[in-house]
């Protein structure tokens, strides 16, 4: 590139715009100064490498950078917000069963002290790609997170996929130029996740879907993956002289600038050429090669080619040793691809391995059988420099230290303004049966069967607790429980694990700090219902946020991050990995449309004995029904408020230490066989939870008078706060259940009935008497009706 080192600030910004680097002027200046010091202009490839490496996507410079948070005039400086919130909780909790946190592609926890297995867990977002190319964006999102798991330690075996989506309302059909309608995005995303996950042979068995107007232009697509990894294969170590080997698909022009593209807002000119093209079978071949090569210990390290392609993968692996690369050795989709494009292309299904020279032949043999392309690009040469050639032409020669340490830091401003609390109520419902009908058929409550049944959630034969359970397969589960006997070969070992999620962006609109507590509470509560060992819960944080250049947006984000820290410590559940995605915001006709601050909490915990797993449908007429926790009232963030435009925005308080005590009790009760069914009270409140438990033939009669003193009827039935679980207790074991409940806030609220009507009364007055078949049909068909 000519004239770079002598360019003016304005000229640099022009270049930045022209090439789509998404760098700011301080970063451009830093690059200029580096090359001025070398006395030469950078090459295009060097600038592309810097842009990728320093992108929001790769370096997370907002979350990991300094932030000055101002609350009501009081200022507080965080040098590294991520380290002082998420990481701090993990360090403080210092759990010895956390085997690898924050440094690898995924976090790893121990299955149990006696097990030889660890669980690697990671979730990603692929929001920007899904906005412009839903099918390809979703496919490559799934492909990417699976490769993260394959590239963890010395390779983990993927055994579970998760998916969580946020869409705009389907009613929005007419869209401005350059934007797809939410329904189109939804269809493409679901098909993409389906076609990729199913072809990979990994069950997609846990997830959720959320609808809100703020996601109309910017859908959110979270994809996660859990892998099994041997405890003695968690760490990688590149040896000087190892070959840089690439296995998997050829490199093409697709996905140029994916990392920089996702570090900017979307507008009508955003194209889809930055989105990669997926090919699941190529990735399955890569998976099979890695599993075989790992068994034979043929490599010392590996990582996936994700954002930034070779430039990130080789750059990261070679950060300590340096690397010498010849791109003319790369396998290409198309011979006209330029050298710098090969270097940054995000073509999918490629992994980079660090292979001792003596093992190359054996690796090639495996690739031959599995029909998986393989090429050698160079070596990790011990020079401490990144040198990249195309044949004899040198296109990059930079210090690794500058590339990875040179990113300038500057303080971002954040302002948090608490929202005023509205305590009075504005809506007076007439008929609570009608309210329940509306809630159970609301898009945020209704069945997502139309999506879920398109995913193979049974492949690998390990899915003990499925998305739907009961003899009719109608009742939704709180968590997925996986028993990976086929992979481990340990058919007489009943250890497994459970995965669940928490998400509450509606409450986040009122109080982002509390939103984090709610999300973490919901995730852990769901694990407890399934009977997981929640004393060993590990969390992932996946933040999605609008443009952090707006101090109020960053202020809410910072509060949510602090909420994560405080809640994680209070619940005793450390974070092990996470990801953040900013710039989820669009400009339409000059107006900005930011998404609501969104935090997905994914939780994982071991299950000591999968045979004791409990599902959520009522099991036997006459069994007593208990409520764990206290209904606290307040309609803030509820589905009810959204439907009926109730202005009351009081959020029920969260008492983590009390809740955790309750959940540990439940977890024990499940293990002891006292519990026939359990379901958490979440979106739609207690009435919706009781209805969902009634979808397998039996229902219940409940009296809530004793558990909602001083509350309004709608609060008792439909408020959503943390801490609540409905539990059906085995009638013969009620005494033992009660005996073990010392100090726990449980209340008997009714019994299971063989009737067809769900009945809920308050102080003797029947408020709900609803036909469960009708509720089921409303719940099942509402999303379907809209497709």
């Amino acid at each position: 590139m000519e004239n770079f080192i002598n360019a003016s600030k304005k000229e640099l910004l022009k270049l930045n715009e022209k090439f789509g680097w998404s760098l700011n002027s301080a970063e451009l200046e830093k690059a200029r100064a580096y090359f001025a010091g070398l006395g030469r202009n950078p090459t295009r490839a060097e600038m592309e490498t810097i842009a990728q490496t320093w992108s929001e996507h790769c370096k997370h410079k907002t979350f990991s950078g300094p932030v000055e948070l101002c609350i009501g005039g009081r200022k507080r400086l965080f040098r590294n917000l991520f380290k002082e919130t998420i990481v701090k909780a993990t360090l403080k909790l210092n759990k010895k069963w956390c085997l690898s946190v924050f440094k690898d592609n995924a976090g790893v926890i121990e299955m149990s002290p006696r097990s030889k297995w660890g669980l690697a867990f990671k979730a990603e977002t692929h929001n920007h790609p899904c906005a412009v190319a839903p099918y390809g964006g979703a496919e490559t999102g799934v492909g990417g997170v699976i490769r993260d798991i394959l590239g963890t330690g010395l390779g983990a075996k993927p055994v579970l996929n998760t998916d969580n989506f946020c869409f705009g309302p389907f009613e929005k059909e007419k869209m401005p130029k350059g934007f797809l309608p939410p329904k189109k995005i939804y269809e493409g995303v679901v098909e993409g996740v389906r076609d990729y996950g199913n072809r990979m042979g990994i069950p997609t068995a846990a997830g959720s879907v959320h609808f809100d107007e703020s996601y109309t232009f910017n859908p959110l697509v979270y994809v996660g993956c859990v892998g099994l990894i041997r405890k003695d294969r968690i760490f990688k170590k590149i040896k000087k002289g190892d070959l840089i080997v690439v296995i998997g698909g050829p490199t093409g022009r697709d996905g140029i600038h994916g990392a920089t593209f996702s570090s900017a807002d979307i507008d009508e000119n955003t194209g889809s050429s930055a989105v990669q093209i997926g090919h699941a079978v190529n990735e399955k071949k890569v998976l099979d090669v890695i599993m075989k090569a790992a068994d034979k210990k043929l490599y010392n390290a590996l990582t996936d080619c994700g954002a930034g392609g070779f430039s990130s993968a080789i750059g990261e692996l070679g950060a300590d040793t340096g690397a010498c690369v010849d791109l003319s050795k790369a396998l290409l989709k198309d011979s006209s691809v330029k050298p710098w494009e090969i270097w940054v292309s995000e073509s999918q299904e490629r992994m980079v391995l660090s292979v001792p020279r003596k093992n190359l032949a054996a690796l090639k043999d495996i690739c031959g059988i599995e029909e998986c392309p393989i090429c050698v690009l160079g070596s990790f040469d011990g020079s401490g420099r990144l040198r990249v050639f195309f044949g004899n032409e040198k296109i990059i020669d930079m210090d690794m230290a500058f590339l990875h340490g040179g990113l300038p830091k500057f303080v971002k401003k954040a302002v948090y303004k608490p929202r005023p609390e509205i305590k009075h109520f504005t809506h007076k419902p007439k008929d609570y049966n009608e309210v329940l009908n509306r809630i159970i058929s609301d898009v945020n409550v209704c069945s997502k069967e139309a999506i879920i049944r398109q995913y193979d959630h049974e492949v690998q034969g390990a899915t003990v607790l499925k998305p739907f359970c009961g003899k009719s397969g109608n009742t939704p589960s709180d968590a997925a429980v996986i028993w990976p006997y086929a992979f481990t070969g340990e058919m007489d070992n009943y250890e497994g694990f459970a995965v669940s999620h928490g998400f509450d962006s509606q409450s986040g609109k009122i109080n982002p700090y509390l939103m984090s507590f709610y999300a973490i509470d919901e995730a852990i509560r769901s694990l407890a219902c399934a009977g997981a060992d929640i004393s060993r819960t590990a969390l992932l944080d996946n933040f999605c946020c609008a443009n952090p250049g707006n101090p109020h947006i960053l202020g809410d984000f910072a509060m949510a991050a602090l909420g994560c820290r405080d809640a994680a410590i209070a619940y005793g559940a450390p974070f092990i990995s996470g990801k953040d995605s900013f710039y989820n915001q669009s400009k339409v006709k000059g107006k900005d449309y930011p998404i609501a601050l969104s935090l997905l909490i994914s939780a994982i915990a071991p299950v000591k004995d999968v045979r004791k797993t409990v599902s959520s449908e009522f099991k036997k007429a006459g069994n007593p029904v208990y409520l764990i926790g206290r209904i606290k009232g307040g309609m803030g963030g509820s589905v009810y408020s959204k439907i009926f435009k109730e202005k009351n925005n009081v959020l029920p308080p969260c008492k983590p230490r009390e809740h955790m005590k309750d959940y540990l009790f439940l977890s024990k009760a499940v293990e002891s066989g006292f519990v026939a069914a359990a379901h958490d009270v979440s979106k739609g409140g207690l009435a919706a939870a009781a209805a969902k438990m009634s979808f397998d033939g039996l229902t219940c009669k409940l009296e809530l008078g004793g558990v909602c003193r001083g509350l309004r009827t709608e609060e008792a039935l439909f408020s959503q706060g943390p801490g609540l679980i409905i539990v059906e207790v085995e009638s013969g074991k009620e005494k033992a259940f009660l005996k073990s409940s010392c100090g726990i806030r449980i209340s008997k609220i009714g019994f299971v009935s063989a009737d067809e009507k769900l009945e809920i009364s308050l102080r003797g007055e029947t408020q709900i008497k609803a036909d469960t078949k009708k509720l089921l049909s409303l719940w099942k068909n509402s999303l379907g009706d809209k497709i």
């Binding site: 072809r199 599995e370 492949v459 034969g461 397969g473 086929a486």
Partner: protein
């Protein structure tokens, strides 16, 4: 001597692990082998006593489900035919059933030509759910011997609608009791609710539902009154017992 079970896979054959685990549990010695290892002469089909073609998306189900895997198998026609003629058990599950149909081994016919297809589900898309199956006790199928009248297994496929070439073929299948399992509620539009078919000697079975996914009671969608082993177990146990 334990019978040797060959779990034959290709790219994106995904259910090899759990199929191998099922045979191992029943006392066989399962070995998972890539079709290329056979094509290159590293392994021989005749060295095995049982052959399983597991579920999955072999070669991405490009062209149509199981088609490319079937073509690879056809290039070893003699070896496979000898295996079947020897009366050794062969089971194709889901994608494996699709492969057996596309190779022409099922429905069985003297010319070894392709006489049926497994077409796109009536609903037009992939379905994963549990289905009830009616077991035909009169079937010669060796895998389904001793099963109760009704069992449950999960299905997970996009192309599972069984369509024989014509009415005559369908009648022959029904009259010969060559359909050992029928759907109680047809999920995909299969002719005569057929969920699987077998050869006249009963040693070759292809079916869309997955017996390996309801092998242990704990795998069921119903979480009460579970037995340790479930209906799917019998499919594998029968094959292993048959060889012993």
């Amino acid at each position: 001597m334990k019978p040797k079970a060959l779990i034959l896979r290709g790219a994106a054959t995904n259910c090899d692990m759990e199929t191998a685990a099922a045979f191992n549990y029943c006392g066989a010695k399962a070995e998972t082998v890539h079709i290329n290892e056979i094509l290159k002469g590293f392994k021989k089909i005749s060295d095995y006593d049982i052959l399983a073609l597991p579920g999955g998306f072999s070669y991405g189900d490009d062209i149509s489900a199981g088609q490319i895997f079937a073509l690879k198998i056809r290039s070893l026609k003699k070896d496979f035919e000898n295996f079947i003629k020897a009366g050794k058990p062969v089971i194709g599950i889901c994608n494996g059933f699709q492969v057996l149909v596309k190779t022409g081994y099922l429905p069985e016919n003297p010319c070894g030509e392709r006489r049926a297809t497994l077409f796109l589900n009536d609903c037009g898309r992939f379905i994963c759910k549990w289905v009830k199956l009616k077991v035909n006790p009169k079937s010669p199928c060796i895998f389904t011997k001793g099963l109760p009248e009704e069992i449950e297994l999960p299905i997970a496929h996009g192309e599972g609608k069984f369509l024989p070439r014509d009415k005559k073929d369908l009648e022959a299948i029904l009259a010969g009791n060559l359909a050992p399992v029928f759907y109680v509620e047809n999920p995909n539009g299969s002719a005569a609710d057929i969920a699987g078919i077998c050869s006249s000697r009963g040693n070759v079975l292809g079916l869309m539902p997955h017996p390996e996914r309801n092998f242990f009671g704990v795998q069921g969608q119903k979480k009460e009154g579970k037995n340790f082993l479930s209906a799917g177990f019998m499919f594998f146990k029968n094959a292993v017992d048959y060889c012993s």
